[in-house]
């Protein structure tokens, strides 16, 4: 069964469409993740004023770091978008390039987050200090863990594209990774507006 490259590309594109069975299943999984995060947000909102005599948000959050993290994550969504554009154009090397760019931005985000955690802990504001800090580390850390697994997935996909080229299976996996990555961006926006923004406003007025 000989098929032309363009015919193959159409199959890859079809596999990357959002309404395939396996993509639908992935949406269902994402819904369960939404609930998981909702619970962590619930915990945060519930505990966010329980300082137990320890530090308050205004004392530990730094706008500078959060700004950089947010920019890196937003940019990484853009680079992933470009990877998907390259997928639809069938440009293998471009895909790899954009995926690696996404990886680097993700790594920047995570590195920043971790160094911020280390900094806060050094100041004596660790997760075992108060209900507020537990909830903060729990929520932001879970998002960070998701980003970490997303990065492992990214590297795996880079390897697969490099070794196997563009197959329908790989096109379909990239579509799901893209969903996952944009989803994490969305969660981050919620983290930003639930955790950092009120915290900083409060800190400013205190």
């Amino acid at each position: 069964m000989a098929s032309s490259p363009s015919h193959d590309l159409n199959r890859v594109r079809a596999a990357a469409r959002a309404d395939t069975e396996v993509n639908f299943g992935f949406w269902a999984y994402l819904m369960s993740d939404v609930v998981l995060f909702s619970m962590l947000f619930l915990a945060y909102v519930n505990l966010s004023q329980r300082y137990a005599g320890g530090p308050t948000p205004g004392e530990i959050f730094s706008l500078h770091g959060v700004f950089l993290e947010t920019m890196a994550l937003l940019a990484s969504s853009l680079t992933f978008g470009l990877a998907m554009v390259s997928l639809h154009q069938g440009k293998k090397n471009h895909i790899i390039g954009w995926l690696l760019a996404t990886f680097v931005l993700g790594a920047f985000f995570l590195w920043h987050e971790v160094s911020e955690f280390v900094h806060i802990i050094h100041e004596g504001a660790s997760f075992d200090r108060s209900g507020f800090l537990s909830a903060y580390f729990g929520l932001v850390g879970t998002h960070g863990a998701h980003v970490f697994f997303g990065m492992i997935w990214l590297l795996t996909m880079v390897a697969q594209v490099a070794l196997r080229g563009l197959t329908p299976a790989i096109g379909s996996r990239l579509a799901r990774l893209s969903l996952f990555w944009h989803f994490l961006d969305l969660v981050w926006i919620c983290v930003f507006s639930t955790v950092y923004l009120p915290g900083l406003i409060q800190g400013g007025s205190a």
């Binding site: 639908f24 299943g25 609930v35 915990a43 320890g54 507020f132």
Partner: protein, 692 residues
């Protein structure tokens, strides 16, 4: 090196636990020895441990459920025996801590390792067949789910030998389940057993939502789905939306216990009510997760054995959806007494009572289906009738408890214990047992014995009343739940009666295992040659029993509700195509047992704080998944010639079984029968849907 694990963990002060361990290890060794002696390991590995076939996975789930039915029941009997032998002037035979492990273990095992696996097992067996599919959407994920459940069950089992199990009740309320009050390994075992089985269930939910929405045979619109499929769809959606709340609650509790965080502690800004809210945000939907599919099973049973279409299909669908939706708005009724304002309690009380309305609709639909039907009193019909009568009583006591004022009196009393057993046993348990009998021939190719089945039914039914009606009394007399001893002499009599009830249930359980054994012994006599032992109406009865690996040689075309009955009426049943096609099926793989084994070791390592080992297990799981993702040869082909040969053999059996004459009869007289056994007017409803 071994974290907190020392030889002390193997030391048990209670002789009863030592004895239980001897039995557990002895049974385990005997099974291993027998399998080795009969050289069954290779067969088990090829056919069962590595399978991705939904029917076999269903069987594995039910085997797990049966093992835990026994263990859960033994624990319950020990609780009953303790309360019957304790009281004023009597000590009973159990220490308080062991007693607490028993009621915790009983509740945990019955919900997570008996009811849930049983249910998911029946879902696995029936759903793909009912919707005319060759497998679920994600067969590999399905296999991972079943072995994760097994791994979680193994964690519960090993807690008997190494360390101890939780004493914090099946709901693990904080702050008692926190480190300050429960420093031992018990709560950690409980957390990881539930966490792993919960993740397994979430994956199952994702799998079945996708399967039902995306894999239905052409022509099967949503409003043509069998009722069981509908209820499983609603249950799967509930699973996807509610189980993550449990996952979150358990994860945060684990952090509190091992990392020193303060989510749920009573100091440093923790909030114990947060846990309780999260737990019931999952916990209340969970009771509907357990009961909706049972409702679906009763619907299948009633239509099949009354030889009628379901009365009020549309109302049944809407009632199911209404219950599923409402189940998210009532969780506060589990803690009316914990201090929120009366307005909030009233709102949740009313919301709770509203659930009785769609449930009532369902009850009437079943009754109207039976009305003027030709009822065959086969075993599943008995379970259904037992359910209808008993469940209504349980529902009523639920409405009583839903009144916040009344609940202040009954909260945490044995009245509550009587109530939830009164819905779980007739609702879930009877439904599961009805489904077990109903689909058993489909999976194994022979019917279950009717006589022992009836013994089992009466054992369960009578035993239930004798064991639980006294608990209503005791609740009203003021006896709290979970009492190891008590000093009110008036309670003793009723507790002895309840213990007798448990013994009657024991006979029901014994009869069920006898039923399985006897049916297996007489399997030739009970053989189901035609694949349609009950005159079924849905697609699973259109194929051989046991079905071939690929289920349907040709994917059926659905033209009506009760799809197979429509085929019989319109002379389309068992139609053969001009030519068969090759069928692609997923290959077996050891990945699921590898992941499950790693999860088990991870859970064990976490319980004992063996961090390096837990880390290795996570790495191993990620590596296994990545390696698998590079494997592209995940399918194999069943050639058309083989499919055709299978079908030839099936059609020979159909002829021998006289199926075709019977079909002519149906074609002539239609698909519904009067109480006298006559067929009613033929229905001409070839392509259109039925009026609701």
């Amino acid at each position: 090196m071994f974290g907190k694990l020392t030889l002390d963990a193997f030391h048990h002060s209670s002789m009863i636990i030592v004895f239980a361990n001897v039995i557990m290890i002895g049974t385990g060794l005997a099974v291993v020895a027998a399998l080795t002696y009969y050289r069954k390991w290779g067969y088990l590995y090829r056919e069962w441990f590595t399978t991705v076939d939904h029917k076999k996975i269903g069987v594995i789930y039910i085997v797990i459920a049966m093992i835990f039915l026994l263990r859960g029941f033994i624990d319950a009997s020990m609780v009953r025996a303790q309360q019957a032998s304790a009281g004023p002037g009597m000590e009973g035979y159990l220490e308080a801590a062991h007693f607490a492990e028993l009621f915790t273990g009983h509740g945990t095992m019955m919900i997570f390792f008996m009811a849930m696996p049983f249910l998911v097992g029946l879902m696995n067996i029936a759903i793909p067949l009912q919707i005319g599919a060759r497998d679920v959407s994600f067969p590999l994920l399905n296999a991972i789910s079943v072995w994760l459940t097994a791994a979680a069950g193994a964690l519960v089992m090993i807690s008997l030998l190494v360390g101890s199990f939780s004493e914090a009740g099946w709901s693990g309320y904080t702050p008692f389940s926190g480190l300050a009050h429960s420093p031992g390994p018990g709560v950690d075992y409980w957390i990881w057993a539930l966490q792993i089985s919960g993740i397994s269930t979430t994956l199952t939910g994702v799998n079945f939502v996708t399967t039902i929405l995306k894999k239905r045979a052409p022509g099967m619109t949503l409003m043509r789905m069998p009722m069981f499929t509908w209820t499983v769809l609603c249950t799967s959606i509930l699973i996807v939306v509610s189980f993550p709340a449990l996952t979150a609650a358990l994860a945060l509790l684990a952090l509190d216990r091992s990392a020193g965080t303060h989510f749920f502690t009573s100091i440093m800004g923790g909030d114990q009510m947060l846990y309780i809210n999260m737990f019931w945000l999952w916990g209340h939907p969970e009771v509907y997760i357990l009961v909706l599919p049972a409702f679906g099973i009763f619907s299948e049973v009633v239509t099949t054995y009354c030889n009628k279409r379901l009365f009020g299909y549309t109302s049944m669908v809407w009632a199911t959806m209404a219950i599923a939706f409402l189940s998210f708005g009532v969780w506060v009724h589990h803690f009316y007494t914990m201090g929120q304002d009366p307005l909030r309690n009233s709102i949740f009380g009313i919301a709770t009572m509203i659930i009785a309305i769609p449930t009532g609709v369902k009850i009437y639909d079943w009754i109207w289906t039976m009305f003027r039907g030709r009822i065959e009193y086969k075993l599943p019909m008995l379970w259904t009738l037992g359910f209808l009568i008993t469940f209504v009583m349980g529902g009523m006591s639920g409405v009583l408890l839903a009144i916040p004022g009344a609940d202040y009196k009954m909260h945490n009393s044995l009245f509550l214990v009587a109530h939830f057993h009164n819905v779980l046993i007739p609702g879930t348990m009877f439904g599961l047992l009805a489904g077990f009998y109903y689909w058993f021939p489909k999976v194994f190719g022979f019917r279950l014995d009717e006589k022992w089945g009836r013994h089992s039914f009466w054992g369960w039914l009578v035993g239930f009343y004798v064991a639980f009606v006294p608990l209503y009394m005791l609740g009203i007399m003021g006896m709290p739940r979970r009492m190891v001893t008590y000093d009110n002499p008036a309670w003793h009599f009723w507790l002895v009666i309840a213990a007798i009830g448990a013994m009657i249930v024991a006979y029901g359980i014994f009869a069920m295992f006898m039923q399985i054994y006897v049916s297996w012994r007489d399997r030739e006599k009970n053989a189901d040659l035609t694949g349609d032992p009950w005159g079924g109406r849905t697609l699973e009865w259109a194929i051989p029993s046991p079905p071939p690996e690929y289920n349907f040689a040709v994917v059926p075309e659905v033209r009506d509700r009760d799809a197979f009955m429509e085929m019989k009426v319109n002379n389309r049943a068992y139609e053969r195509p001009a030519a068969y096609e090759d069928i692609h099926m997923p290959k077996s793989t050891p990945l699921p047992i590898v992941i499950a084994a790693l999860s088990f070791v991870f859970g064990f390592a976490y319980v004992w704080h063996i961090w390096w080992l837990a880390g290795l297990c996570v790495l191993g799981t990620v590596a296994a998944v990545i390696v698998r993702s590079f494997n592209e040869e995940t399918e194999f082909v069943i050639p058309a010639s083989e499919v055709e040969a299978d079908e030839d053999a099936f059609h020979r059996r159909l002829k021998e079984g006289g199926v075709f004459e019977h079909l002519q009869y149906i074609e002539e007289y239609g698909d519904e029968r009067t109480p006298q056994g006559k067929f009613v007017e033929p229905t001409t409803r070839a392509t259109s849907g039925l009026p609701g």
